[in-house]
Symmetry: C3
Subunit: 113 residues, 3 copies
């Protein structure tokens, strides 16, 4: 069983739910270490800023468990956020939507909490 | 034509739309009996409780037409809902997100109304 | 690289985000001309009416770049909208959910902004 999941978040208020979903998926998958990516675009990239209200500790813990955190550069630019302001484990891609498309073509399931 | 669809619902207020979408899909698919699963997690599992405001009659009718109704056990536990309180045709899975991932890997399309 | 993307919109307030996502995807994909379809159902079909508040100029421009705009006939009927009222490049399908299912089975990635 090869579990690959893409969580899409584009609203700040959804971060708590997204992170809970991630944690639940990791627990449920158990030995079948799933590949998980959280792709944030639009205003949701704010949740990846170091000083944000989102639960950076839980993100850090999930990143340590192998979850990828991806921020959309179009969104960062639009909001005037510098890469240096992001949590250190966040990876920046030119366009979140392209990442969402490419990963699905690689067999990732899409979940939008 | 082999139609397999996963409806994801995680907000109580979306039940009406989800059920209307299900009904429309069944009508439109006609002879090509589609495989449909409605996966509820987070607060949306409340809509599967017998006394909920959601349209239990329509759910019952859709279940009779073969639509699967799936509740996430993480959500039930978090909300203190017992399996006995759920509509009788609802199936409980340990984690809704894992169900969403596995079904997509089996070729189900994902729709989030 | 064969990029095929389905944007799903069922809330009027999401049109701006959906169109921005489309534009970003076109830019990011560059030479790899992606196949893009925007499927509107429920109240979101109102955004495809000629007199709507949605950005018809941007839609027109995207349509000119090959983006398909699809309206759900169930939604049009429910809202009393005639096909003649829609922007000229919009294509009407009997059921938006069936379109979403069929396109995914053809390899389109699903994105719900």
């Amino acid at each position: 069983m090869d579990i690959k999941v893409l969580f899409h978040v584009d609203e700040c208020e959804k971060w708590e739910l997204v992170l809970a979903n991630c944690r639940n998926l990791l627990k449920a998958a158990g030995e079948n270490r799933p590949e998980i990516e959280v792709v944030a675009n639009s205003e949701a990239v704010k949740g990846m800023v170091q000083s944000s209200d989102a639960d950076a500790d839980l993100m850090q813990q999930l990143a340590g468990a192998g979850v990828g955190f991806i921020a959309c550069n179009n969104a960062l630019t639009g909001l005037g956020i510098q890469k240096e302001q992001l949590l250190p484990f966040v990876r920046v891609v030119p366009a979140g939507v392209l990442e969402l498309a490419l990963r699905q073509s690689e067999g990732f399931a899409y979940i939008k909490p």
